[in-house]
Point group: C2
Chain length 106, copies 2
DNA sequence: CACTAGCGTAAGCCATTGCTTACGGTAAGT
DNA sequence: ACTTACCGTAAGCAATGGCTTACGCTAGTG
């Protein structure tokens, strides 16, 4: 259940901002910090959290570290949400049928 | 951007547990609290948060309040994630093409 | 009209956490 | 080799947030 850490990561607005900036493509830490309302170490910590959650990957490019989105992390989150979605919909439909058509508690 | 509050809601493990219990179908507050490792008021507060985030709905059934999942909240979260997913994939593919095939910076 | 069941809300406490400053360590440039 | 750029980590702090106990209110029941 890695979606738990992913959800917790994406709950923080600043961290989500970092993640969304990565959506356009790979970026270095400094480039990410430039334009965000927090310091560079803060961005670094957010990136570590995102990496631990399996949402981003990293490659060294000289002295700078370039981060980019890990599709697998997003995929797992999507699977969880999709499963949840279908389950909730069937439960919803069942409830409508039970309440509407016949008696709900025989 | 209501997905923000939805994400923050689902980040807490206990609150997510409450939400997942609702996946099977509508339930009252007491029924939800029974079996969870927290007190009933705690569950009540979680339900309020989920309701404010647009993830659950409520109906009065005599003295008891029955909560159930709001498909719309899930739908919005799904839309956000899907959009993110496609964007990230195209960026990923573009990067692979640029790094692999031709020059990345003309 | 009491009395109970079922919830929501308020106040308070404690843990978590996000941010900053400060420091250390590696890579590139001169 | 010295300096600069770039980054991760540690420590410390202030704020957020989840849980509990206590209280008040409404809906049924005798």
């Amino acid at each position: 259940m890695a979606y738990a850490s992913a959800l917790q990561c994406l709950s923080d607005p600043t961290r989500r901002q970092v993640f969304e900036r990565l959506r356009a493509g790979p970026q270095s830490v400094g480039a990410l910090a430039h334009g965000l309302p927090v310091s560079r170490p803060a961005v670094s910590q957010h990136l570590k959290a995102l990496k631990d959650a399996g949402l981003v990957l990293q490659r060294a490019e000289g002295a700078r570290r370039v981060y980019y989105i890990d599709p697998q992390g997003l995929a797992e989150l999507r699977r969880w949400l999709d499963r949840f979605w279908t389950d909730a919909l069937t439960a919803f439909k069942n409830e409508v049928d039970a309440t509407h058509g016949t008696r709900s508690k025989p």
